[in-house]
Amino acid sequence: MITTLTDTTASAINKQMIEMRETFGANTIGRVLTLIIVATGDVEEPLEAAIAASHEHPARVIVVDAEPDAERSGLDAEIRVGRDAGAGEIVILRARGDVQWSLDTLVMALLLPDAPIVTWWPENAPSSPVHDVLGSMSQRRITDSAGCQDPLGTLKRLRRGYASGDSDFAWARLTRWRGLVASAYEVPPISTPLKVEVVGTVDNPSVVLMAGWLEHALGIDAEVLPPHSGDVDYAGVHSVRLVREDGTIDLTRVDDASIVMKLPGDDTGQHVTMPRRTLAELITEELRRLDPDEVYGEVLAGTYSSIDDTATFAGGKPDPVDQVLPDADGVAAAAAEHTAQQLAAALEERPIAHLVLTGGTVGTKTAAALPAALESAGVDVSRLHLWWGDERFVGPDSEERNEVAVRESLLAPLQAGTKIPARNIHVMPSPADGMSLDDAAAWYGQQLDQMGGDQPFRTRGRAFFDVVLLGVGPDGHIASLFPEHPDQRQVAASAIGVTDSPKPPSERISLTWPVLNSSRHVALLVAGEEKAGAVLDGHRDINPWQVPASAVRGLQSTTWFLDTAAAGQLPG
C-alpha cells in the first residue's frame, strides 16, 4: 500500500498515516524504534535493507531525501505500509529547496512517541554525527565511511566528532571476522602473540579498524600490510595473522564466501563459510543494541589519536605573505580585488564558489568594496555562496551583527535584480530564530555539512571554501576564537556557540579551526596601530591557543592585508 502526497506538510503526513492505520489496520504491530535514513538520490537500496531489518526490529522508517537545489521549495511524501514496508512503516520525505533548512521539524511530527531514534547515513557521513540536527536527537548514529568518497578521511573526521552512540558500518562488517579471530585465539594452548599482521586494502576503513581492535585488545602493535600483487582483489580484510612462539594463527579470505583458518601445527587449514555481509545484515546488527558501542569508540580513539594540537589544521601549507597598504581603505580595496579575482578563478573551475565574510571596521569596508570588485572581475554572483566566520548572538537587526553591517553595502547590491539567490546567503541565526545558542550553532554547522556533502572540512589537500576573510583583534583573535578561551578547543563541530567572550557581547557563534582552515585562500584584514602587536605575533609560529591569528592558513595562499600602522612592528 503506497500513498503519495505532493506539496504537503509533516502534520498532513501524520494525519494520513493515522487514517491509513484506521482504514487498513495495517499497522497494528508494536514499533520499537524510529529509523531515520538520510539519503541523497537513490533511497531504494538502504530502504530495502531497512525493510529486511524491520522483521527483527519493527520500526517506523523515515527517509529524508533533501533536494536543496530544487527551484520550488516544498515537501513531497510517500507513505508505504503493509506489504510494501515489511514489518515496518515507511515515510519517504522529499524536501525541496528551503524546506531542508529545518529537517528536525520535518521529522518531529512523525517520530514514534518515546521510542528510541536511530539515524543512519548510508553515504555522506556528517562531519560530526552528534552535532547534526537529526543526529543530536538520536540515541544511535550510524555512518558508513566505506560509502563515502574518501573512506579513511571520513573515518578520521568521525574520530574527531565521535560521541558515545556513534558507530560505523566499517566496524559492523568486521563482526564475524572478529568472532572468528577471538575463537581461534581461544583454541588451546593459548599464548599471547608476538606479532600481529592485518593484510588488506590499506585505505579500507575496516582494515584499519581491525588492526586498531587487535592493538587495543592485545596491547601489541598490529602491522597493516597491502595484499600481494598476485592476490585476488577483495575489498576489506584479506588476512589476519597472529604470530606466536608455537606457530601462526592465520585466517585468510580465499573467495567471496569463505576464509581458511590455519592454527599452529595445522597446515591444511579449515574452510569457514563467511560471506560478505549484506546491508540488511549490517543494519539489523546495528539495531540489535541501542546502547553505545563503547568498544568501537575505544578502538576508533586508539586508531586515530585525537587532535589535541589544534595547530595541526593550519600546518603544512604555504607561508603567509604580506601586502602593506597606506591605510584602511587601501586594505579594503586590495582585499576586495584579491577576493574577486580568486572567486572568478574558482568559478572557472567549479560551478559554485564559497566566500566567508567577516565583521569589524576593515571587514565591513572590504565587504562594501566587494560589489564593484566582483563586477569588474566578471564574477557571476548567482553562483556565489556567502557565509560568515562568526556572528554575535544578538537580535536580528542589531547594529552589532556582522551581517547587519554589510546589508546595505554588500547584500543589497548583490541582490538587486535578484542576482544572488536569497538561499545562497547563509546568515547565522539570531535569538529571534527561536534556538538556543548551541542549537543555533549546530544548525549552522548542518547547513555547512549539507552544502559540502562528504567534502567538508578537509584541511589537507582539499578545501571547502574558496576565500575566507578574517579580521584580527588587538588580542590576536579571529572569528570568535579568542586567545586562551576554552571554547576555541572545540573542534568536533563545524560551528560552535561561544560564551563568556572577552569582548562583548558575550554570546557568539563561530566557525571552528578545521572549518576555517578548509579554504583555498585566506585573507587577514588588519588596520590600525593598536593591532601591530597582534600582527607581529600572528607572524610567528602557528600557535592557536595564544595567537589565533597565527593558526588559519589557506591551502593555496594566506595573505595579510595590512596598513602601514598595523605593519609597524614587523621587521623591515
Binding site: 522483521h55 515489511g86 563482526t175 587487535l214 579449515q270 563459510t273
Partner: protein
C-alpha cells in the same frame, strides 16, 4: 539471560579479545564435536541436524566442529553426509548453502553399530580420537542421546566402559538427554542414576526445548526488568492464573511412546510446571544458573495439590469426528493404540502455591491434543476492581483485567482492560492491547534447539533443568497420576473443542471459567 560475562572456554585464562562490553562479538562455541545417538530419528532429522547446520550458517560453531552419527545402518561417511544434506536442505531455517554444508561436511563421520556392540564403541572412540587429531576438536565431545530412555543404561554403560565419558586435561565431555526424564519419581531417579554413573551432574544437560523459546525467556524480562508488573504480581491483585498448552493435532506417529504416558507426564510435568515456576518464582538474586534454579526449586517445592483430586483435576480422551473440516480418528483407533487404553490426551489440574505471594491464588493448568487450536499461553487474571463508581448496567460488559503471555504461536503479550465505548453513554467494555514481536519474528528468531545446543557447547547452563527440578515436578504429578490410575478414567471429548465437560466443571466449582485462548 546469558549471565556469565565471559563464556567458559576450556581454560580459565580470559581472552583479551572478548571484552564483556563488546556485545556484538558472537559467542562461538569452542573446538568440539557432537556424537549423536538416534540420528535417524524424527527429532534428529527435523530439528537437531538442521539446528546444527543453522548454527554453522550463522557462524556460531567452530570451523573444526565434528558430528558423529551412531546407528545400525551400514552407512559410510558419505552416506551419512547425504542423509544430513537431505535433512538440512528440507528443514533448515536459514536456507541451504552449499558452501556452509561443505564446511560442516568435513567433520561428518558415521559409526555403524548397535548399543550392545562393544566393538562399535571402540570404533567410536577411534573416530572421536581421529577428529581430535585431524580437525582439532580438542578432546571436547558432547553425546546427544536422542534415543528412548530404556536404551540409556546400555549407552551410558558403553560410554563409561570405553572411557569416552572421561575428559582429559582441560577438555570436557557432556551428555544431552531429552525429556521424558522418567515417567514418575522413581523412574526419574533410576534414569538419573544411570546417567550420573557415567557423567558428573554438571555435565548432564537436560533439554526442555520450551525453555529455549524466546517468549519463555521474556517472562523473566517482563517480570523483573519492569516496574509496572511486579507490584501487582501477587495475591492482593491476582485472582488466578491459567496456563494452557493446546495442540490441534492428534498423537500422530507417537503411539508407541504416548500410550501409557499421557498428556500429564508428556507435557505438564516438564513444560507447564516450568512455565508455572517462571511465572510464580521470586526474583532471583542474579541470572546465574544456580540462583535461577534456587528460585524455581523453591516455588516448585511450595506447590500444593488440591484436597479433592476428583473435583479439581480433569482427564480426557478425544473421540472421533469432524475437526475443522477434517475427519479424525478417535484416540482409541489411532495406529498402535489398544482399544481399551485409558491414557489421557487431555489433562487439567488446579495447583496452589503455599507462599505469602500466592496464597489463595489457584494456578489452573491444562494441556491436550485435538483441542480448539494450537496455542501455549500464560494468562494472569486479575481481581475485579473493589468498587466501581458506575451504574451496574454501565459495566455489564466489563470482565477481569488480564495479562496474557503468548508463548506460541504469535509470540507476544496481550493486556485486557476496560475502556469506555465511544458515544454519549457511559459504557465500559473489555479491550485487548497487543504486543507482538513482529509478524515475521519466528523466521528471524533462532529455533529453540539452536539456542540450547549452542548453550550446551558453551557450557552455559541456565536454560537446562537440573535433576532436583525434575524430581520436584514428579513429586507434584505422581499423586495425581496415581489417583487417576485408580479412580478416574478419561472423559471423552470432541476433537476441536476445549476438552471434556469435567474440565469446565472443575473451574465452575471455583466460580471461574477457562479463558478462550
Amino acid at each position: 539471560m546469558t549471565a556469565s560475562p565471559t563464556p567458559p572456554t576450556g581454560t580459565d585464562a580470559p581472552n583479551p579479545l572478548r571484552d564483556p562490553r563488546d556485545r556484538r562479538l558472537p559467542l562461538i562455541a569452542g573446538p568440539s564435536s557432537m556424537v549423536m545417538f538416534g540420528v535417524t530419528g524424527d527429532l534428529a532429522r527435523k530439528k537437531l541436524l538442521p539446528a546444527i547446520y543453522d548454527l554453522t550458517h550463522r557462524g556460531l560453531l567452530p570451523p573444526s566442529f565434528g558430528l558423529v552419527g551412531f546407528g545400525r545402518r551400514e552407512w559410510s561417511d558419505d552416506d551419512f553426509a547425504d542423509y544430513v544434506r537431505k535433512s538440512v536442505s528440507e528443514h533448515s531455517r536459514t536456507g541451504f548453502d552449499e558452501s556452509v554444508f561443505e564446511q560442516l561436511r568435513g567433520g561428518l563421520r558415521f559409526v555403524t553399530g548397535t548399543f550392545d556392540d562393544t566393538a562399535a564403541f571402540e570404533k567410536l572412540t577411534e573416530v572421536v580420537g581421529e577428529l581430535d587429531r585431524t580437525r582439532g576438536t580438542g578432546g571436547n565431545h558432547a553425546f546427544y542421546l536422542s534415543i528412548p530412555p530404556d536404551a540409556f543404561p546400555q549407552v551410558c554403560g558403553q560410554l563409561a566402559d570405553s572411557g569416552l565419558n572421561t575428559p582429559r586435561d582441560g577438555s570436557w565431555r557432556r551428555v544431552v538427554i531429552e525429556k521424558p526424564f522418567g515417567h514418575d519419581l522413581a523412574s526419574a531417579r533410576e534414569l538419573n542414576d544411570v546417567v550420573e554413573k557415567a557423567f558428573r551432574p554438571e555435565d548432564v544437560f537436560r533439554i526442555d526445548h520450551y525453555l529455549g523459546k524466546e517468549t519463555v525467556q521474556n517472562i523473566m524480562a517482563l517480570r523483573f526488568a519492569n516496574q509496572m508488573f511486579e507490584p501487582i504480581w501477587n495475591s492482593n491483585y491476582v485472582d488466578h492464573v491459567q496456563i494452557t498448552m493446546a495442540e490441534d493435532i492428534g498423537i500422530g506417529s507417537r503411539a508407541g511412546y504416548y500410550d501409557g504416558i499421557g498428556t500429564a507426564r508428556d507435557v505438564i510435568q516438564n513444560h507447564l510446571l516450568q512455565l508455572l515456576a517462571l511465572t510464580a518464582m521470586e526474583e532471583p538474586v542474579t541470572f546465574r544458573a544456580s540462583d535461577l534454579r534456587a528460585e524455581k526449586e523453591k516455588v516448585l517445592a511450595a506447590v500444593e495439590l488440591p484436597e479433592d483430586l476428583a473435583a479439581h483435576t480433569a482427564r480426557g480422551q478425544y473421540v472421533g469426528g469432524w475437526q475443522g473440516g477434517e475427519q479424525v480418528r478417535p484416540y482409541l483407533e489411532e495406529d498402535g493404540i489398544p482399544a481399551d487404553s485409558t491414557t489421557e490426551t487431555f489433562a487439567a489440574m488446579r495447583l496452589d502455591i503455599a507462599t505469602r505471594r500466592w496464597a489463595g491464588v489457584p494456578f489452573y493448568l491444562r494441556a491436550g491434543k485435538r483441542l480448539g487450536r494450537r496455542v501455549t499461553e500464560i494468562a494472569v487474571v486479575f481481581k475485579r476492581a473493589p468498587f466501581l463508581p458506575f451504574r451496574s448496567t454501565d459495566t455489564a460488559d466489563l470482565g477481569q483485567n488480564a495479562i496474557v503471555i503468548r508463548v506460541q504461536p504469535d509470540e507476544g503479550v496481550t493486556m485486557r482492560f476496560g475502556s469506555k465505548v465511544p458515544g454519549t453513554q457511559m459504557e465500559v467494555r473489555d479491550v485487548s492491547m497487543d504486543f507482538a514481536y513482529g509478524m515475521n519474528f519466528t523466521e528471524e528468531s533462532p529455533e529453540a534447539y539452536e539456542r540450547l545446543i549452542l548453550d550446551m557447547l558453551l557450557g552455559d547452563p541456565p536454560l537446562f533443568p537440573r535433576q532436583k527440578e525434575v524430581e520436584l515436578s514428579w513429586k507434584i504429578l505422581d499423586p495425581i497420576t496415581e489417583f487417576w490410575a485408580e479412580n478416574l478414567d478419561p472423559a471423552p471429548y470432541r476433537p476441536g473443542t476445549w476438552g471434556p465437560d469435567t474440565a469446565h466443571e472443575m473451574l465452575a466449582l471455583d466460580g471461574r471459567t477457562w479463558r478462550r485462548p
